[in-house]
């Protein structure tokens, strides 16, 4: 059934249904549902502590949700060990603090996934790794260690590392929040170029301008719920919720 629907092309790349997650008494996610079509780019906006990062981590099960379903390409993401490793390897993840492996050169950071998880030969992986580094304009830093790079370069290397796994979906968790202002642009440029190549992406961000220009849809979240979802134009110019308006006013004031 799934296979037939896949051929039709109308199975969403990502389908999230009624996701709940609590830490003790604190409910971080209170019933999140949304779809992400293939090639679609969605931004997730919202105040800090509303569960945006938890949502991303529940998608590849780095955090196990209490309830709810996550479907990737028409296949449900469940807890079976073998399956979960496979599913994670097909979802790229980029973190606020880059999280590069400090003991490995940039190229080895990019190649370690293909070599150790996908069992690619070293030669093949290096070729692929250099390709990915070229895409993020970092081929001249292939032999540098993470500590020798600027924040922007580290984040671009981290994007290359995720892309080297040839993911079906990319998750970005505030990719520019830890960067100096003058380094934000180079990272957003790379993400925009991925958007142009129709990579399916879910991006938690506070960059309103970027959400407007690079994303197809914006999700506004607060207190573990999706308050509204719509085109950037709609959400940013004419939001339905008072809270959305308030939040946007607050962050554009700065």
């Amino acid at each position: 059934m799934d296979g037939v629907r896949k051929k039709g092309g109308n199975v969403p790349a990502l389908k999230v249904r009624d996701l709940y997650k609590s830490y003790g008494d604190l409910e971080v996610l209170s019933g999140i549902s949304f779809d992400l079509e293939k090639g679609e780019v969605k931004a997730v906006l919202g105040p800090s502590g509303t569960g945006k990062s938890t949502l991303l981590q529940c998608i590849n099960r780095l955090t196990v949700p209490d309830r709810g379903e996550v479907w990737l390409d028409g296949v449900e993401v469940i807890d079976s060990k073998r399956e979960i490793y496979k599913i994670r390897s097909s979802i790229g993840m980029v973190f606020q603090h880059f999280n590069l492996f400090s003991h490995l050169r940039v190229l080895d950071n990019v190649c370690i996934g293909p070599i150790r998880v996908k069992k690619m030969s070293r030669k093949e992986a290096v070729k692929l790794g250099m390709e990915k580094l070229k895409q993020v304009n970092l081929e001249d830093k292939a032999n540098a260690y993470p500590a020798e790079l600027s924040g922007g370069q580290q984040q671009r290397a981290a994007i290359a590392r995720a892309m080297a796994m040839n993911p079906k979906l990319m998750l970005f968790d505030e990719p520019t929040s830890a960067l100096d202002p003058e380094l934000i642009g180079e990272v957003l440029e790379i993400i925009k170029s991925l958007a142009k190549s129709r990579m399916t992406m879910l991006i938690v961000t506070h960059e309103i301008g970027f959400a407007r220009s690079a994303c197809d849809k914006i999700i506004f979240m607060e207190h573990g719920k999706i308050l509204e979802e719509g085109s950037p134009d709609k959400i940013l110019n004419d939001p339905e919720c008072a809270r959305t308006k308030e939040f946007l006013n607050k962050i554009t004031e700065l």
Binding site: K81, N99, L100, V117, R161
Partner: protein, 219 residues
């Protein structure tokens, strides 16, 4: 004096035995220390609790008591093995704390990133955590190497014919010369300890990469 020179080869034949006790117990300590550290950091409660108890016990008991316990507990075992077991496990308990500290100082973000690539726990530990933890641990580990080097002298208590036991035989047979002969032993221990440390420091600087400048100080 002549008698002393004649006795030297006899004492020196204890050096290889000392080195065997050292090599054996530091290796046993390395393996058991790594296993205990990983169990304490990553193990579930039913694993980490007993490991913690074993480790705490081994650290709390004087090495002499431990040696005698193993000696009388493992009656019939060759003294060399008894010494290696007792000193090795004691060292493992100390080494586990060195490795635990090093493992816990690796940012959690890196293990999360590795998991997000699809690595399982074993691969994350083996490819991401340990290579970094070991770099950080070499410095403190030289300490433990010195401690174990010196602790090998306890092996004479359970009858291993190592350096110190031979020295005592010579002193007893030559009625004196204790200061001279013990000084000779001291020099040999010093050479073993310093030789090992300089090899370890060389390994440390060979493995050093930007971001792991272990001995920084002021800039």
């Amino acid at each position: 004096m002549e008698a002393l020179i004649e006795a030297l080869p006899y004492i020196l034949r204890g050096v290889p035995i000392t080195l065997v006790v050292l090599g054996g117990s530091i290796s046993l300590g390395l393996i058991s220390g790594l296993v205990m550290a990983i169990a304490e950091v990553y193990g579930f409660r039913f694993l980490s609790m007993p490991v913690y108890l074993i480790e705490a016990t081994l650290r709390a008991i004087p090495v002499l008591v431990l040696l005698y316990l193993f000696y009388f507990g493992l009656l019939g075992f060759p003294p060399l093995l008894v010494a290696i077991f007792a000193l090795g496990l004691r060292s493992g308990a100390y080494q586990s704390q060195i490795f635990r500290g090093a493992i816990e100082s690796i940012q959690v973000g890196q293990t999360v990133a590795a998991q997000s690539l699809g690595m399982g726990r074993f691969r994350v530990i083996y490819y991401i955590v340990l290579p970094q933890a070991i770099r950080l641990a070499i410095g403190p580990w030289t300490n433990e190497y010195n401690v174990v080097t010196k602790a090998t002298s306890y092996a004479y208590l359970v009858g291993a014919l190592e350096l110190l036991r031979r020295a005592r035989y010579v002193i007893a047979a030559s009625h004196g010369n204790a200061v001279l002969i013990y000084s000779f032993c001291a020099i040999i221990y010093y050479m073993i300890a310093q030789g090992g440390c300089s090899i370890l420091y060389r390994i440390e600087s060979k493995l050093r990469v930007p971001g792991f400048e272990a001995r920084g100080g002021w800039r």
